[in-house]
Symmetry: C2
Subunit: 487 residues, 2 copies
Amino acid sequence: MVTPTGAISATALARHLGAWRPAGPQPTYRALADAIRVLMLDGRVPVGTAVPSERTLAEALDVSRTTVAYAYAALRDNGHLLSRQGARSVLRLPVQVPAEPVDLGAEGDVIKLNIAAPSAPEQIVHDGYRHALECAPGYLAGTGIYPNGLRALTETVAERFTHRGLPTAADQILITSGAQHALRLVLDTHVSPGDRVLLEQPTHHGTILALARHRARAVTIGLHPEHGWDLDQLESVVRLQRPALIFVIPDFHNPTGLLLDEAGRIRLGEISARYRVPVVVDETTAELALDVAAPPPLASFAPRGAEIITLGSASKTVWAGLRVGWIRVDGRPDTYALARYESDIGGAVFEQFAAQYALSHLDDFMPARLAALRAQRTTALAAIAEHLPGAVPVRGVGGLCLWVALPQPAATATAAAAAELGVRLIPGGSFGPHGGFDSHIRIPYTLDSDTLARGIGLVGQAYRQAVGDAVAAPPSSDRGLPDRMVV
Amino acid sequence: MVTPTGAISATALARHLGAWRPAGPQPTYRALADAIRVLMLDGRVPVGTAVPSERTLAEALDVSRTTVAYAYAALRDNGHLLSRQGARSVLRLPVQVPAEPVDLGAEGDVIKLNIAAPSAPEQIVHDGYRHALECAPGYLAGTGIYPNGLRALTETVAERFTHRGLPTAADQILITSGAQHALRLVLDTHVSPGDRVLLEQPTHHGTILALARHRARAVTIGLHPEHGWDLDQLESVVRLQRPALIFVIPDFHNPTGLLLDEAGRIRLGEISARYRVPVVVDETTAELALDVAAPPPLASFAPRGAEIITLGSASKTVWAGLRVGWIRVDGRPDTYALARYESDIGGAVFEQFAAQYALSHLDDFMPARLAALRAQRTTALAAIAEHLPGAVPVRGVGGLCLWVALPQPAATATAAAAAELGVRLIPGGSFGPHGGFDSHIRIPYTLDSDTLARGIGLVGQAYRQAVGDAVAAPPSSDRGLPDRMVV
């Protein structure tokens, strides 16, 4: 359950906690905080659960209210508890929102392995904004509001789809502020609170956060490290659970780098048509083929009656500081245009011209980008082998990330220790809609090779500290729930 | 009720429709469509109501299913009915989403009185993007992701608040993609489905659409054309209905141009503190003082315990094609930063530098902008007196719009007739969360005086046509509901 609507009573939480009290010198509040965190990482108390008031939990556990207050504060500090004024606090997975360093010179001191986004192709971005300065004058006399997106940009995006094997007209495209924004508009249009949405597990954590905002429930299929998508399982989940949407990342899946083959694309189209369920295809990383060429877009395989909604973005190919994405549908994207208007009126004019310039020059700069990514991935794989012995990365064929299985389930503790060492890292749990995945980390290979090697070295050090220091999970006293990590 | 959760049964709708059949040569389906539309404009069937299936309504009315299908299609075509795949169609007020003309030369043929957004101050916007080209290089090597906004821009926005009498630090500011986006992030954070939100009536129609997306319920207070806000009524609604938020536009209210005085600002702060309800202050038009200086921002009057969330935007002072707005809170805007990250990751880098440049040069270009707006308003008032005799505009003191009471309730029909004459106009109903207001139109004075005079001349012509042709409301057969327009 991703929806933040569930609450747990003090007595139920006390029962789940079992024998949580500290054995050694650890402060009581810290042991309580750790025990609550482990319950969530375990999946025994779902992410999004509202916790009891300090007073009632203190009574149920027979501790002072101060102990509970301190434990909640500790959970809040490390991002596991979200408090909102006038509402009960809810359990959540930590999200590291990057903050701009005041001094850019200090940037080099923190190694950001938490973000899979490449730096900008400087000349192209610069030239793009110069191009915008040339194009914009005719627009300055107008209102600047174009909810569908500027024609020049929708044409460029449509041409790229056509070039990739999916004939597309400009008026099938709606421009958004990136793929996350595109997804929110699709959810606005298709999903009501309580609806189910089928996801791959693991998946992009922005998608998980978006579903929670829409109070949708995630239902999942696993991805096999070698065989990828199990579409028999997917069809069976669709048949039994009737999700409102299926969300997939077939072209260099984030975080695994896996690629869905042509047979799988055909099958997904058939499932969409047979069960009348729209398939949302996130193509954010579709242009990042490192080892094999990607097949044509999934939508090009769709039979009559299928509904394929394709999302894309300039963030991973050009630069995330340029906020442009899109939605492609088979007809006209009018309902999404209305959703966009209601979301933020429309896109920025200069921004769209700059994106149009960069996207129409993809073939000029992508070969060098892909070569750099390949080299950085080689560096990352070597550093993982050296500094994280026993860790197993999925053998993806494109995208920006390695999804790495650790020998022991200590990703959260590793991320915490890495932060102390100056490396930001997102633990695996952030990529699972039900938490879990604490034996996985995601290593993006978007930084330069030197920084990457240094960062992974520090992650190795953090992992060794974490495994040495790991807080043992408290014995579970609950009945019928799995007494193990959800992985 | 704004929430799209209510449905009406075929028998109830048939009862409301009463004697709807055409007396003269009008086709049956057209008479049915008009009667359903009038029921909604009247407020007898709320906006957002799900209509019955074609089959059941045809049975209840004893007409052919084709007649109902044609009537629904007609409602759909003119924007009064929204259909979504797999769900019942819902009644809605028409929203005119502006589309970019393919040929900018054709722009002059349509007079856009539907948008209250000025053209750009060309030199400032141009210089702003040149400034961005100079600032950006240090950022191109990074990921480009800054969910709180660039420091240079948050500092500029904070300085402007301080200059206006509300001391503000940069880390109290979160940058958004405009004020509509800011409002959505606030609703994401504070409002659950079914919560009440208190609004002025009339209000900005983007706010009404946003509430509907969040499935919130609008409760309203009226604005008196001369005395403005009735804060006794507001407090009584707060006490009885306990809204989750209060939303106000105190500085040159959209669409009326009214200004809340200092006593009113103090009172709203007291109400926020006493009832523990956050007040969202939309300051989009706060810099557009035409006749009197605005008092300091509402938040500067807030007593201890009040929670004032201030939204602003560069859209109305600079240009709507530059998508930058902000949220100001008393502490740190971290929960909104998370909501922004989940909404669209963050703002565009170049865009923010361009906005920073323009906002730090406000004092250079605003005097000329305000002088132009004053002159255009004079033109608009004269044209209204000439072409719409008997119409009464509210005497606002700033902002971008005149809110005009027509002699007869024919705004929707006038807007339809105006469209035929090449003028886009939004009828008053779009500014009321419960519809109604069909005796009002909004006339923005953002176009040049010649175009404005020509546009209002055509609106006068459209009004005369509409009053001549008006479809009489069908006799009402419902009991206990007001048999009059909700105004």
